[in-house]
C-alpha cells in the first residue's frame, strides 16, 4: 500500500527532500473534501462546496451520475411527486411540493423541466442528475471505484487524521473530510432455510408475462414489495405478501418511506376479496421448501428442525397436515424477496469505526444528529444512508429531505474549517413576527424536514434585535454556539413544524371527524403539520435537557410554547387566526409590545410618555414613520383604536364605550395592564 508515503511529508527535512525527488511516485493527491458517490446527495454536497470555492472531488464508480436510478426502481416509476403546479409563484414554497429537485441557484435545474409526470420515470432522474453535474460543472471523477477507505493519523490534519481512499487502479486519494453518499446499495437478505429459492427484487423479472397464472409469494412489505405486486397483480392467480410487521400506510404515519397509496393496489384487492392477501410473520422463523413439482411451500422453521434434515416438501410434515386451514397451505410458483437495502460497510477499514446502529438502524451507519460518524471525526454520511437520524419520522432518507440536511452539514463545516459563521440575517425586533410568518409560509426545508431541521432565532441584548438562522439540525441545539459561531446568550426561539402528537402512526385513523382544529385557543391540539415555536430563555445545553427531554417532545422543554393553528391551505397569514396569536406569544416571551403604529400615534406617545414602543423607536424616531392614508385613518377612528382628535364632528367616537373615551394613557394603544409575562412564570416551570 502506498499509504506510508503520506507520513514522511511531515517527517524530517531529509526525507522531504527525498520525496521531492520522487513526487510522482509517492505523494497522493490531497483534497480538503472528498465525496463518495455522485448520486443526488453527493452532487448536492458538491454543489455547495463548489459555490463556496472549496477544494473537493467526487468519486463515482459509474460513468454517469445517479447510477442507482439506472436500475431502480425496477418498474421505473418514482414515487416522489413531481408537482409542477401549486398556483403560487414563490419558488421556495414550490420546493415544498417538489420532491425531486436538488437545490441550486439555477431555476433551469428544477426537476419539473425534466418530466411532466406526477410520478416521474427513473430515467428522467438519471438525465436530471447528469445535467445537474454538467451544467454546474461539478468536479466528479467518474469510473472511479473506491475500493478501500482507511485512516491515517496526522496531528496537522483538520481532524487529526486523513482519510485515505484507494480506487480500483490503486490510486490513492487523501482527504481531510470525507462525505459518504453511497446510499444503500446492498439488498437486504434474511437468512432462513430455503431463502435461496427466493428471487431478489434486484433481479426478478419485471415482465408481467412471466407471472401469468402463478401463485406468488412476496417477502417484504415496503414500497418495493408493493411496486412488484402492482406490476403483476392482473396476471397472477393471487399474491400473498408476508412480513414481520403489519403494513404501515404512509398517509397514516406521515412518513414517505411507508407504503404509498400509489403502490397499494394489492390492499385494495385483498380487502375486496380478490384472493390476494397479507400475512404477518417473522421471516426468520420460517422455512421455504421446494416440492418435486418445483413448487414452494412455507412452513414454520421448527417443522424442519423436527425432521432434522433438509428434505423436500414432499416428505416432511407441513403445518396443513395438522392444521388443515393453515393460511399458506397452497404451494407457490414463485417467491420474491423485496426486503429493502443496506449500507455497504465493506470498503471501510475498521480504524474508521464506522458501525451500524442497532435494532432497526442496522441498515444504516451510526451517526450523530450532525451527520458526522460517531466513530471518526470528519467522516460524514449524507443522503439515503444518513436516514438513521430521522428514520420513519421525516424525509431525511429522500431527495426532498436530504438536499436540506446536506446544506446544513455544509454550513457546519464552513464554520468548523473556514470560520464562516452560520448564515444569519440580523433584523430589528419589530420584524420578528414578520420574519417568522414569512418562513413558516414559504420555507421548504422546515416543511420537508419537519422535526429535524428548524429555524433558530437568537435574541440580542435587551431583545432589540435578533439573528435569524435557517434550518439548523435541531437535535444539535445544545451545541449551537460552537457549531454555528453565533451567540445565544439572550434567549432564543426555535421554529419547528410538527404533526399533532397522537396523529401519526400505522394504526391511526387520520380521517376521524373533528380532526381539524380551527380555533386559535385549540391550536396546540392541531393535528396536521403546523408551525410550533419554542421559546428558551437560555440555550438548553445540558445533556439532561436535550437527551432526556419529555417523551414525545422533539425538543427540550421550553419556557413557553406556541402552536400556530393548523391550516387547511398551509397558509398561515390570517391576521387574526395566525398572526395575532403569534404576536401575543412573542410579546409575552420578550415582555414587550410588538404592535405597529402609525406615525401619528408615535407622535402622541413621543410627547406624552417617556418611553416609546419598539415600532416607534425603530421606525418613527428614525424618521421612517408610517403615515396613514385618509381611508386607513377613517378605519382607525371607526375601529376605535385611536381617538379622533379633530375638534368638532365625529364626536360619536368619543363614546363612553370600552375602547372609546379614554385618555391617551388608558387608550387601547397604550401599554396594556401589566400582563404577567412568561418571565413571571419562571419559578413555576
Amino acid at each position: 500500500m502506498g499509504l506510508s508515503a503520506a507520513a514522511p511529508l511531515w517527517g524530517p527535512p531529509g526525507l522531504l527532500l527525498a520525496i521531492a525527488l520522487h513526487p510522482a511516485l509517492s505523494v497522493p493527491p490531497r483534497r480538503d473534501y472528498c465525496v463518495l458517490g455522485a448520486g443526488p446527495a453527493g452532487l448536492q454536497m458538491a454543489y455547495f462546496l463548489q459555490r463556496a470555492g472549496r477544494d473537493y472531488a467526487v468519486f463515482e464508480r459509474a460513468p454517469r451520475p445517479g447510477s442507482f436510478f439506472t436500475r431502480y426502481p425496477r418498474h421505473r416509476k418514482l414515487i416522489s411527486i413531481n408537482k409542477r403546479y401549486t398556483g403560487k409563484a414563490n419558488a421556495e414554497f414550490n420546493l415544498r411540493h417538489d420532491w425531486n429537485s436538488l437545490l441550486s441557484h439555477d431555476p433551469r435545474l428544477l426537476f419539473r423541466h425534466y418530466s411532466r409526470a406526477y410520478f416521474p420515470d427513473a430515467r428522467d432522474m438519471v438525465r436530471y442528475l447528469g445535467d445537474f453535474a454538467d451544467t454546474l460543472g461539478l468536479r466528479v471523477q467518474y469510473n472511479t471505484t473506491i475500493a478501500h477507505v482507511t485512516l491515517d493519523k496526522d496531528r496537522q490534519a483538520w481532524n487529526g487524521h486523513y482519510f485515505i481512499l484507494t480506487d480500483q487502479k490503486g490510486q490513492v486519494h487523501q482527504c481531510s473530510v470525507l462525505f459518504v453518499a453511497t446510499g444503500l446499495s446492498v439488498p437486504n437478505q434474511v437468512d432462513f432455510p430455503g431463502s435461496e429459492y427466493a428471487e431478489g427484487y434486484e433481479s426478478v423479472s419485471v415482465d408481467p408475462e412471466d407471472f401469468v397464472g402463478q401463485n406468488v409469494l412476496i417477502l417484504g412489505r415496503g414500497n418495493s414489495a408493493f411496486e412488484t405486486a402492482e406490476n403483476i397483480l392482473g396476471v397472477t392467480n393471487f399474491i400473498h405478501m408476508l412480513s414481520r410487521s403489519r403494513v404501515r400506510l404512509s398517509w397514516a404515519t406521515h412518513y414517505v418511506g411507508d407504503l404509498r397509496a400509489i403502490n397499494n393496489g394489492l390492499l385494495d384487492t385483498y380487502q375486496l376479496k380478490s384472493l390476494d392477501g397479507l400475512l404477518e410473520s417473522d421471516l426468520t422463523d420460517l422455512a421455504i421448501l421446494k416440492d418435486s413439482k418445483g413448487k414452494f411451500h412455507v412452513t414454520p422453521k421448527f417443522f424442519l428442525e423436527e425432521a432434522n434434515t433438509n428434505q423436500s416438501a414432499d416428505s416432511i410434515t407441513l403445518p396443513q397436515d395438522d392444521n388443515d386451514n393453515f393460511a399458506m397451505r397452497v404451494p407457490y410458483d414463485r417467491v420474491i424477496r423485496c426486503l429493502g437495502w443496506n449500507f455497504d460497510f465493506s470498503i471501510f477499514n475498521k480504524s474508521l469505526r464506522l458501525n451500524s446502529g442497532n435494532a432497526f438502524g442496522k441498515k444504516y451507519p451510526l451517526i450523530r444528529a450532525s451527520y458526522e460518524s460517531k466513530g471518526s471525526r470528519g467522516l460524514f454520511i449524507l443522503g439515503t444512508a444518513s436516514h438513521s437520524v430521522d428514520y420513519r419520522k421525516s424525509a431525511g432518507g429522500f431527495i426532498h429531505g436530504f438536499r436540506y440536511t446536506v446544506r446544513a452539514v455544509h454550513r457546519l463545516l464552513e464554520h468548523r474549517h473556514h470560520s464562516v459563521t452560520w448564515p444569519a440575517t440580523e433584523l430589528p425586533i419589530t420584524q420578528l413576527t414578520s420574519s417568522i410568518v414569512r418562513r413558516v409560509n414559504e420555507a421548504s426545508g422546515l416543511y420537508q424536514m419537519f422535526g429535524v431541521l428548524a429555524d433558530v432565532i437568537l435574541l440580542k441584548e435587551n431583545s432589540t434585535a435578533f439573528e435569524y438562522l435557517e434550518e439548523f439540525p435541531i437535535q444539535m441545539l445544545a451545541q449551537l454556539e460552537t457549531l454555528t459561531g453565533r451567540k445565544a446568550k439572550h434567549g432564543l426561539f426555535v421554529i419547528n413544524m410538527e404533526y399533532g402528537r397522537n396523529f401519526s402512526g400505522p394504526d391511526k385513523d387520520v380521517f376521524f371527524d373533528d380532526r381539524s382544529v380551527g380555533h386559535t385557543e385549540d391550536a396546540w391540539q392541531s393535528n396536521f403539520l403546523h408551525p410550533v415555536i419554542y421559546y428558551y430563555r437560555y440555550l438548553p445545553t445540558g445533556e439532561q435537557e436535550v437527551r432526556f427531554r419529555p417523551a414525545h417532545w422533539p425538543l427540550p422543554r421550553p419556557t413557553a410554547i406556541h402552536h400556530i393553528v393548523e391550516d387547511f391551505l398551509t397558509d398561515w397569514t390570517a391576521p387574526i387566526g395566525h398572526i395575532l396569536p403569534l404576536r401575543r406569544f412573542l410579546e409575552n416571551c420578550l415582555d414587550t409590545d410588538l404592535r405597529s403604529f402609525y406615525a401619528e400615534s408615535c407622535f402622541l406617545f413621543a410627547l406624552t410618555r417617556q418611553k416609546l414602543p419598539p415600532f416607534c423607536q425603530q421606525g418613527y424616531l428614525r424618521m421612517q414613520g408610517l403615515v396613514s392614508t385618509e381611508s386607513l385613518w377613517q378605519h382607525r377612528v371607526e375601529s376605535r383604536l385611536l381617538r379622533d382628535y379633530a375638534p368638532t364632528g365625529r364626536r360619536l367616537e368619543d363614546s363612553s364605550q370600552q375602547l372609546g373615551d379614554q385618555e391617551p394613557l388608558g387608550s387601547p394603544l397604550a401599554p396594556g395592564p401589566l400582563a404577567q409575562s412568561v418571565d413571571s412564570n419562571k419559578e413555576e416551570l
Binding site: 420584524q431 373533528d514 410618555r609 417617556q610 363614546s655 370600552q658 387601547p668
Partner: protein
C-alpha cells in the same frame, strides 16, 4: 323642511323647535352685569356669557351662542351676553382676559358654569344647558314633520328610549334623520348605511316584483317600529346578483364588522322586531360582561395598522398605476428605466398600509414623471427580494442607470416619498458652472419647481484645487440626495461668490427660499459625515411648527421641548417674543416650537395628557422628554411676552416652578397575555383521557338552539368550526357556525396565561 327634536318635560310643554334651521332674527342681548341680574326672574333659567373684550377667539363662540338664543328661548331659557365693564365689578367677570365662562342661572341661583370650550357649537350649548337642568323626567321626541305635506295633519313622533346623554341624542337624531326605508338591490353583506356606522343593525325585508307593494308596506311598518334601533331596507331579490336562500324573507346584518349576515324566515312583523331587539340586548350584556369580568379579548386585534388594513381589504386600489414586477421582469425593468421599487409582502400589514400611500404617489405623478413606479410582492417572489438584499418589509429602492440602487430612508408616506422622487430628478450635487447659474440656483430660479420640496438649497464653494474637499462634499451631497438640493461650484471665479457672501473657502452657502435668506457656513472639517451633519442641522428651524413628520428631527436633539399649542396659526407676537428669546440665548438648552392644532389635531390628545381640565389656548408648555418627563405650564393668566417668559424660565431653572404632570415612564409591556399552551399541554398530560378539553372549559352537549345559547354560553364553545366537512356546507349553516365561533371568540378567557 320642518323637522326637529323636542323635549317634553312633565307638566311643561314647549313648542316645536328646530336647531338645524336657523333664522337670524334673534340676536343676543348685550347687557351690563347689573342690568343682567336685574332681569332674572324666579324659576326662569338664563344663560349668560361674561366677557371683557371681543377677541377673535371669543367671537366664534359668540356666533354660536347667538345661534343658540332661539332654541333656548323655546325652552323658556333666556340668553345674554354680559359685558364686564370696569365700573361694575362682578365675581362672574373673570380675572383674565381670555378665561371667561358662561353661567346658567335659575332665578338668581347659579346652576352651573361652563368653560367656553365645552360649548363648542350651537348643539353643544343647547345640549349642555338643557341637561344641566333636571333631565330625569325629560323625554325626547322626534317629530317627523318632513313627511307631512299638510301642516294641519299631525306629525308622527318617536320617543327616544335611551337615557338622555349627548351621545345618545346625537345617535338618535342621526337615525331620525336617516331615510325611513331604503331600497337596495345589492349584496346585503356589502350594504352600509348610517345605521351601521352608528352601531345599529340593518334589517333587509326581501321583496320580489310580484309582492312589491305589500312588501313595501310591511317594510315601512317594520321601519317605524324599529326607528332608532335598526336601519330597515327593502331588498329587491329580482335584481340581485348574489344568491340568497330561496325561503329567506328577512336578512339581518349586525353592526359589528366582519360578521356575516343572517338569513331568516320570519312570517310576522313582531318576530322581526323581537329578533332585532333580542340581538341588540345580547350585545349589551356581552359588552357589560367584557367590561366587568374579562377585560379586552386577546383574540381582538389591537394593532392599529393590522386592523385598519384588514378593514380596508376590500377597497380596490388603482394598482395598475404601478408596474407589478416578477422574477422574470425585475431585472429587465430596473435596467431599462429609472425605477422606484416597492418591496412588500401581501400578508404584512405595514407594507400593505404603505402600499396605499405608494399608489397615492403614483396617482399624483401620473404621466408627469420619468421615474417608473413599480412594486414586487415578496410573498410571491421571495428569491428576487432576497437577491436584492431585502429581508424586511416594506423597503423602497431607487434604481437609476449606472448607479447603485439607493434605499429610501424617509417617512413611509405619500408626501415624503413624492418629495424624494421629485428631488431625484437632478443629480447630487448639481454641478454649477457659472456665476450667473449659481445666483439662479441660490435664488431658487434654477429649480423653481423643486424648491417646493426642498426649502433649502445648499451650494458648496470650493476653489478648483480643493480636491478632497470637493470629493467629500460630493459624497455628502450624494448621501442627502432626494432630501435636500445640493450643488457645487468650483470654477476659477469662485472668489467672486465667496466675497459676495463673505464666505472663506471652502464654504457652504445655504439658501433658505421661504425666507429669501442666504447664509454662509465655513467648512472647517470636510469629512463627508460632518458636512451631512452641518447641512441637516442647518435644516432645523429656530422656532418650527412641530408636526408629526418633523418631530423626530427635533426630538433627536435630546433637549426639552418648549411647545406653544395654538389653535390655528401662531400669534405673530408670541412668535416674535420667543424668537427674541432665542436670539438672546435664553432658550439654548431647549427646543422651542409651536404646534398648530388645526394641522396636527392629535395635539389635543397631548394637551389632554398634560392638563385636566384643559385651560383655553394658547398654551405654552415645557416638556422634559428626555430626563424625568416633567411637564411645566407657563401660567395661562400671564401674557406670552418676553419679560414673563424670562421670569418663568428663571423660576424653572431655580426649581421654583411646579410641574403640572410627569409623563409616565411605563415600559411598553405586552398589551395582553397570550395563550399558555404549555400549561394546557401539561394539564392534558396530567389528566389523560379527556382529550380536546382546554383548561377550565366545561364540556356540555350542544343543542343548536338559540335559547340555550343564551343560557349556557359555555356550551357554544364545544362545537369546532367545520372546516373540512364540506358536506355540511350550506349557506345558512355556515353563517350560523361562523357566527357562533365569532361569539365564542368573545367569550373565552379561561385559557389565557394567568
Amino acid at each position: 323642511m320642518f323637522s326637529g327634536f323636542n323635549v317634553f318635560r312633565v307638566g311643561i310643554s314647549f313648542v316645536i323647535m328646530c336647531i338645524f334651521y336657523m333664522p337670524t332674527v334673534n340676536s343676543l342681548p348685550e347687557l351690563s352685569p347689573q342690568k343682567y341680574f336685574s332681569t332674572l326672574q324666579p324659576g326662569k333659567a338664563s344663560l349668560a356669557y361674561f366677557c371683557q373684550a371681543d377677541s377673535p377667539r371669543t367671537s366664534v363662540f359668540l356666533e354660536e351662542l347667538n345661534e343658540a338664543v332661539r332654541p333656548l328661548q323655546d325652552y323658556g331659557i333666556s340668553v345674554a351676553k354680559v359685558n364686564c365693564v370696569k365700573e361694575e365689578i362682578s365675581r362672574y367677570c373673570g380675572k383674565e382676559k381670555d378665561l371667561m365662562k358662561a353661567y346658567l342661572f335659575k332665578g338668581n341661583i347659579l346652576l352651573r358654569e361652563f368653560p367656553t370650550d365645552t360649548l363648542f357649537d350651537v348643539n353643544a350649548i343647547v345640549a349642555h344647558v338643557l341637561f344641566s337642568e333636571d333631565v330625569e323626567y325629560a323625554h325626547l321626541y322626534f317629530f317627523h314633520c318632513k313627511l307631512v305635506l299638510d301642516l294641519t295633519q299631525q306629525c308622527r313622533r318617536t320617543l327616544m328610549e335611551q337615557p338622555l346623554t349627548t351621545l345618545n341624542i346625537h345617535l338618535f337624531i342621526k337615525t331620525m334623520k336617516a331615510p325611513l326605508l331604503t331600497e337596495v338591490a345589492e349584496d346585503p353583506q356589502q350594504v352600509s348605511t348610517v345605521h351601521l356606522q352608528l352601531g345599529l343593525p340593518l334589517v333587509f325585508i326581501v321583496s320580489q316584483q310580484a309582492t312589491y307593494e305589500a312588501d313595501r308596506r310591511t317594510a315601512e311598518w317594520v321601519a317605524w317600529r324599529l326607528l332608532g334601533k335598526a336601519g330597515v331596507l327593502l331588498l329587491l331579490r329580482d335584481s340581485l346578483e348574489v344568491n340568497i336562500p330561496q325561503d329567506a324573507n328577512v336578512v339581518f346584518k349586525r353592526a359589528e364588522e366582519g360578521v356575516p349576515v343572517e338569513f331568516l324566515v320570519l312570517h310576522d312583523v313582531d318576530l322581526i322586531i323581537s329578533h332585532v331587539e333580542n340581538n341588540m340586548h345580547i350585545e349589551e350584556i356581552q359588552e357589560d360582561e367584557d367590561n366587568d369580568m374579562e377585560g379586552p379579548d386577546i383574540d381582538v386585534q389591537d394593532d392599529e395598522v393590522a386592523e385598519t388594513v384588514f378593514r380596508d381589504r376590500k377597497r380596490k386600489l388603482p394598482l395598475e398605476l404601478t408596474v407589478e414586477l416578477t422574477e422574470e421582469t425585475f431585472n429587465a425593468t430596473v435596467m431599462a428605466s429609472d425605477s422606484i421599487v416597492l418591496f412588500y409582502a401581501g400578508w404584512q400589514a405595514v407594507s400593505m398600509a404603505f402600499l396605499q400611500s405608494y399608489i397615492d404617489v403614483a396617482v399624483k405623478l401620473k404621466g408627469t414623471s420619468t421615474m417608473l413606479l413599480t412594486r414586487i410582492n415578496c410573498a410571491d417572489w421571495s428569491d428576487v427580494c432576497t437577491k436584492q438584499n431585502v429581508t424586511e418589509f416594506p423597503i423602497i429602492k431607487m434604481y437609476k442607470k449606472g448607479e447603485n440602487p439607493v434605499s429610501y430612508a424617509g417617512m413611509l408616506g405619500t408626501e415624503d416619498l413624492l418629495k424624494f422622487i421629485q428631488l431625484n430628478r437632478i443629480s447630487y450635487p448639481v454641478n454649477i458652472t457659472s456665476i450667473q447659474e449659481a445666483e439662479e440656483y441660490l435664488s431658487g430660479e434654477l429649480y423653481k419647481d423643486l424648491i417646493l420640496y426642498s426649502s433649502v438649497s445648499v451650494l458648496g464653494l470650493f476653489s478648483p484645487t480643493m480636491k478632497t474637499a470637493k470629493e467629500d462634499f460630493s459624497e455628502a451631497g450624494n448621501y442627502l440626495k432626494g432630501y435636500v438640493i445640493t450643488g457645487i461650484y468650483s470654477e476659477e471665479d469662485v472668489l467672486l461668490l465667496s466675497t459676495k457672501y463673505a464666505a472663506s473657502l471652502p464654504a457652504l452657502l445655504l439658501a433658505r427660499h421661504t425666507e429669501g435668506k442666504i447664509e454662509s457656513i465655513p467648512l472647517a472639517s470636510t469629512h463627508a459625515q460632518d458636512i451631512v451633519q452641518i447641512i441637516t442641522d442647518a435644516l432645523l428651524e429656530m422656532f418650527p411648527e412641530i408636526t408629526v413628520e418633523n418631530l423626530p428631527s427635533y426630538f433627536r436633539l435630546q433637549k426639552p421641548l418648549l411647545i406653544l399649542f395654538s389653535d390655528g396659526t401662531v400669534n405673530p407676537q408670541y412668535k416674535k417674543a420667543i424668537l427674541t428669546l432665542v436670539k438672546q440665548k435664553y432658550l439654548d438648552s431647549f427646543t422651542p416650537c409651536w404646534l398648530n392644532l388645526k394641522n396636527t389635531p392629535v395635539g389635543r390628545g397631548i394637551l389632554r395628557a398634560y392638563f385636566d381640565p384643559l385651560p383655553p389656548l394658547p398654551l405654552l408648555v415645557l416638556v422634559n422628554l428626555h430626563s424625568g418627563g416633567q411637564v411645566f405650564a407657563f401660567p395661562s393668566d400671564q401674557a406670552i411676552i418676553e419679560e414673563n417668559l424670562v421670569l418663568w424660565l428663571k423660576k424653572l431653572e431655580a426649581g421654583l416652578e411646579n410641574h403640572i404632570t410627569i409623563l409616565p415612564a411605563q415600559e411598553w409591556k405586552p398589551p395582553l397575555p397570550a395563550y399558555d399552551f404549555l400549561s394546557m399541554i401539561d394539564a392534558a398530560t396530567s389528566q389523560r383521557g379527556t382529550r380536546k378539553v382546554p383548561k377550565c372549559m366545561k364540556e356540555t352537549d350542544v343543542q343548536e338552539n338559540d335559547k340555550e345559547q343564551h343560557e349556557d354560553k359555555s356550551a357554544v364553545r364545544k362545537e369546532p368550526i367545520e372546516t373540512l366537512r364540506i358536506k355540511h356546507w350550506n349557506r345558512s349553516n355556515w353563517f350560523k357556525e361562523a357566527e357562533k365561533s365569532f361569539r365564542r371568540d368573545k367569550e373565552l378567557g379561561c385559557s389565557k396565561v394567568n
